[in-house]
Symmetry: C2
DNA sequence: CCCATAGAAGCACGATCGTACGTGCTGAAA
DNA sequence: TTTCAGCACGTACGATCGTGCTTCTATGGG
């Protein structure tokens, strides 16, 4: 007898292809809605209505609202990775990556992937004071992002592309601040001009000629 | 006959002293709760429970949730004026005000006036994509704040306290970014060290010796 | 082709949401 | 001291919240 027959009859979860597609569609819409209503304000009913399906059918995919929130954060992370982190990593290591990560973020906002701006900027402030696994996951993503910027800054420092007395931690803090200010101003005033300002600011701060701003 | 007797009998609102005190207490608590639950997530029931009064008694002070939100934003503005803008204005015009506004903001966070960090940083991202008078009021406060920082920057530029090629708009954008990054990091990681970083960053950025960081 | 099973829907629940109405209590003006 | 409006209350409403349970459909491995 093989291993399977020896095991106690554990009801293994075996997802089907159409269910996985539905789940994916749910999470996409969930991330989008969460940028407007927040992760807490996002309701199962509204989400189901936006997808044209039933509350219970949607709910069965996650089992609880918290599980839905966690899966939504993960999906947002995948999208952020593809739209912002990926392009930044594709640039030459160092100074160019610092500029690229800011540009990629501004492009991400400008093409309006989500109606409510950056998912993580909003989620961080919303869930920051609500202890639990959702906050922890968001905090982990934010730390990883700032850490990524810090490695870019450290690389730029190694290559003498910035002043020798610059500090990677402080520089990462500033770049992150520019990104947050870009998101806040863009969302609040619905003005792409705020993104142009951000693109100029990061170049001036790093001593890069501002020719590349489209 | 005087003006009053000539007017049509308009039922003038004549608030009583105890009612005004209650209303003030409500708004204080509302601002505090809104920094955790958001302006939309803030519920009349929770607010009444936190104050030990009835839902209906509280509700009568405002007549609608939107009016409560608007009054809450105004109250938050008064507190922000007293805790951040006031101290910044008290500093010598120019460069010192730029440092002071950041310090005052960090102090404001560190003394934990509200459990959820900066009211306006959270409210801006939450309400930014929700059209209506509440969003407009928040946007107005945020614009006024950035405008204030810009006047500080312009004054510093006039007095040759910063490099001649600095731009007040871009400088205000950066300082605002540092403030937003300070709030986000502090709220998310509950770490006062993030505020120390912010205080150091703003000094380094402006070329001020970092001796004054406590 | 069959059928065990994942997926989706229908329905119902207790709780809580914002809002409305009616009623005593009480502070301040007359 | 009398009087009246502001204040706070209890109660109730329709809607919606997250969450179960039951039932039908349809998919994919044997």
């Amino acid at each position: 007898m093989n291993d399977r027959s020896m095991r106690a009859p554990q009801p293994v979860r075996r997802p089907r292809a159409d269910g996985e597609r539905t789940r994916q569609a749910i999470l996409r819409e969930a991330v989008s809605l969460a940028t407007v209503d927040g992760l807490e304000g996002l309701s199962i009913g509204d989400l189901a209505k936006a997808l044209g399906m039933s509350k219970s059918g949607l709910y069965a995919h996650f089992g609880s609202k918290q599980e839905l929130q966690l899966a939504t954060v993960e999906e947002a992370g995948r999208i952020f990775q593809a739209e912002v982190v990926g392009p930044a990593l594709a640039a030459p290591p160092g100074l160019a990556q610092l500029v690229a990560v800011c540009d990629a973020f501004c492009d991400h906002l400008q093409r309006r992937t989500f109606p409510g701006g950056c998912f993580f900027a909003g989620a961080a402030l919303e869930m920051g004071t609500r202890p639990g696994p959702v906050k922890e996951r968001i905090a982990a993503f934010q730390s990883a992002f700032v850490g990524l910027i810090r490695t870019f800054a450290a690389s730029a420092l190694e290559q003498r592309q910035v002043a020798a007395d610059e500090d990677p931690d402080q520089l990462a803090f500033e770049i992150n601040g520019i990104i947050l200010a870009a998101d806040t101003n863009f969302v609040l005033h619905d003005d792409p001009g705020a993104l142009d300002v951000a693109r100029r600011v990061v170049r001036r701060r790093l001593g890069v000629e501002p020719a590349a701003v489209r």
